[in-house]
Amino acid sequence: MRLPAREQAELAGQRLYHFHGGLRLRHNKEVSCRSPLRRSRLPPRLYVPLLQHAGEPASALVVPGQLVLKGEAIARFEQPVAGFLHAPTSGSIAAIARHAISHPSGQEGLAVIIRPDGRDQWCALQPVVDWQTAEPITLRQKIGEAGIVGLGGAVFPTSAKLSDAHDKTIHTLIINGAECEPWISCDEMLMREQAARVIAGAAILQRATEARQTLIAIEDQMGEAGERLQAALDAFQANSRHDGRNASGQEQIRMVKVTTIYPEGGERQLIQVLTGLEVPAGQRPTDLGLLCQNVATAAAVADAILEGKPLVERVVTITGSGVHQPANLLALLGTPISDLIEQCGGYRQDAARLLLGGPMMGYALSSDANPMIKAANCVLVLNHADIAAEHPELPCIRCGECARVCPSILLPQQLQWDIRNGLLADASAHGLDACIECGCCDFVCPSQIPLTQWFRFGKAQWQQQLQEQSAATLARQRFEARELRLAAADQQRQQKLAQKRQSLKERRSRQPGDET
């Protein structure tokens, strides 16, 4: 018997399910996990882009020449919720100027350029003293002030997500450590080397959302990371029992190992694996009582609450066949990528493409002057052999491989056909919006059709068409209302005129009588 969705969602993690399609990719993670996580050196300049989260660019709160301390707010954004960007180190503001900003569009944008003073001195930090007893709203506010955004890639402000979750009374918090894309190992290394931070962050997030249980989902191939995480979890729980502070339900944190299959780390796919449920179209996981947060976000939350530190650095994987010594670095936001690559032994001779993110969903950067941003989980350098297509693009032979691997159960071949022929409404009816752009269909297409690229194009076109349509509808409604208004006014005038004429006539017919 099938339970109602929300009730079934409450059983999250009790047994594992499958999502449709997906790929088993060669994950190449081990190359960047050989050396321990280390802190990146302080570069001569930091370039902090004002746009590095969903929404509009932030506006700078500092002026050139001004001295700042590490962690001081340097910019404020209003959309989608108010929040801050912070100085990643102490120093002076060199300029606020256009610079490469690691944006997917490849365009330049404003960046706060900081000249570090080398002391890396924190401003006064205000941790939340006793978070176990703090009000959830206090925690959420503090997380918002710390400028924390989803570090899994969505870069949506975490505090907004938490408020939404709290409003909808979620029951389960899912900490997503299923980092499924090849090459990327920053979350795995974080869990391996800073497990306690992750666990503390998970517990804080649970309190901030008042969820009943927390599931930390990791991949079954992350051997050591899993062990260390479990050990940290046991230690944490022993500690909180010792303190007698398990009233907020920290007992309910569990680790769940999920099978490694791409794109399992996608929010909607992970939810399907843990609950067997699909998030209904047009709804969010919170509507099922679930909230997903990335492990790196959890670690950042721990820093913000326990130490009062805003988000100024993150773990980033520097890897790929085009880098000499792949590694994971704890890098300050704004560090130029060239600097990170240098610390990893520099480029190999045949380095051909520089990516931010993984090989399936990451985007290519045109130069290594682009800086570290909050969303950057991986800097991947691929060589010619990796990216070279062996075959030319051919027409679709409708083999259906794309449909077999699609995690959104779409018919990519059909969508591609619709979009190519400008049938955007058909594409939308065939579920274009459900596409998560994971690239699985591209990867298996024997005709080498750039399907994902078509879908991105189709989505943009469809949005534009919808906007134009609604603008046209609005214009038509205004015009019709105006016509109606004018017609009514005209009619009124006619009526008045007729009345006047009538009364004039009556008066005239009376007047001669009066005279006689």
Binding site: Q283, L354, D442
Partner: protein
């Protein structure tokens, strides 16, 4: 200091599969069936494959050139060869050369390129070619040789070549002396003249459960087909529903009237049913796209094949059934769009 890079779009690791490798694997999968075919019917089959392939490649090259497409690249996808081999396997071993030429002309030029080339053909090209020659050259298309073990073939290699090139029967022989109706043909004529199936099956063209020789060829095709399934070149839906619907319907008919209906085994193991189920109806281009659509498509081909075999004007109906379902495929696709995530 700063290093610049060329950009590109995600995903950045290209697909390793190719149309050519798909087509090549289909050709490999046909090898056991082709060898079995040779075993029972002699070297004529290989001659037909050779001829059809030559014509197909020549016509494909000419059409690509006419349509100003890269010729070498077009030939390297092996799709014309697959069409040629599937077509040739349907021909009697001694069919004269112009049959292969006519068939390939209609398959490659008309059914494939005039509809837009690879990926755009509405109909299965091999079946279009086959149906055209079946209708145009009914006499030649029924001149099958009796199945025999190697060494006791009635026509040798040189006689076969001479016969195919001249269009006449092998030297010193008459068509009547060497050709033989196929099992399905025999069955059809027999039933029409009022014989019971048991009486008909006493004829030497029948084997243990299908046609003599044919049943074993079908097995070897099935083996190749299973390999394709295992390699995930084809999906299970079409073969299963096509053979399944034939077995089911055949069983019903057999129970209803065993005198005039052969057993379902007879249906499955004669004619082109197994070849069709694994290699022809599974053609993705002219078939259905979704899994549910494929279920309907396969069942449709199976049912129509049986209907044609029982009531139609031709002994076997696979080719016609496939073409009819090709016509229905876009409509089926329209009604079998899968429910996408979250809806």
């Amino acid at each position: 200091m700063t290093r610049r890079f060329d950009t590109g779009f995600a995903p950045h690791i290209p697909a390793r599969a190719s149309v050519a490798s798909v087509m090549r694997q289909v050709l490999y999968a046909l090898i056991p069936g082709v060898l079995a075919h040779c075993w029972y019917f002699g070297p004529g089959v290989l001659l037909q494959i050779l001829l059809a392939s030559l014509f197909a490649v020549g016509l494909e090259a000419a059409m690509l050139r006419l349509r100003r497409r890269p010729v070498l690249q077009g030939l390297q996808d092996f799709s014309a060869l697959v069409t040629a081999v599937l077509f040739a396997l349907c021909l009697p071993p001694l069919a004269p050369w112009w049959i292969a030429l006519t068939g390939m002309f209609f398959a490659i030029v008309i059914a494939k390129h005039l509809y837009g080339g690879l990926g755009h053909n509405v109909f299965n090209p091999a079946m279009v070619g086959y149906v055209v020659v079946l209708i145009c050259f009914p006499q030649s298309m029924t001149q099958w040789l009796p199945a025999a073990a190697p060494g006791s073939w009635s026509v040798g290699l040189w006689d076969s070549i001479a016969s195919v090139l001249s269009g006449g029967p092998p030297a010193t022989l008459q068509w009547d002396a060497i050709s033989q109706a196929t099992p399905l043909d025999t069955l059809r004529t027999g039933v029409n003249s009022g014989m019971t199936v048991d009486e008909i099956r006493a004829a030497p063209v029948f084997g243990d459960f299908g046609g003599l020789g044919w049943e074993w060829i079908a097995n070897w095709y099935a083996l190749g087909g299973l390999w394709l399934l295992w390699r995930r070149i084809i999906s299970w839906q079409v073969p299963v529903t096509m053979i399944g619907s034939v077995v089911l319907l055949g069983l019903l008919a057999y129970f209803a009237d065993p005198g005039s209906n052969p057993s379902p085994m007879q249906h499955v193991f004669s004619g082109a049913l197994v070849l069709g189920a694994f290699f022809i109806a599974t053609d993705p281009v002219s078939g259905c796209a979704s899994n549910r659509g494929r279920l309907v498509f396969g069942a449709g081909v199976g049912i129509l094949t049986l209907v044609i075999r029982r009531w139609g004007g031709y002994p076997d109906g696979v080719a016609f059934a496939v073409l009819m379902m090709n016509m229905a495929a876009p409509l089926i696709d329209r009604y079998t769009v899968p429910r996408c995530y979250g809806k």
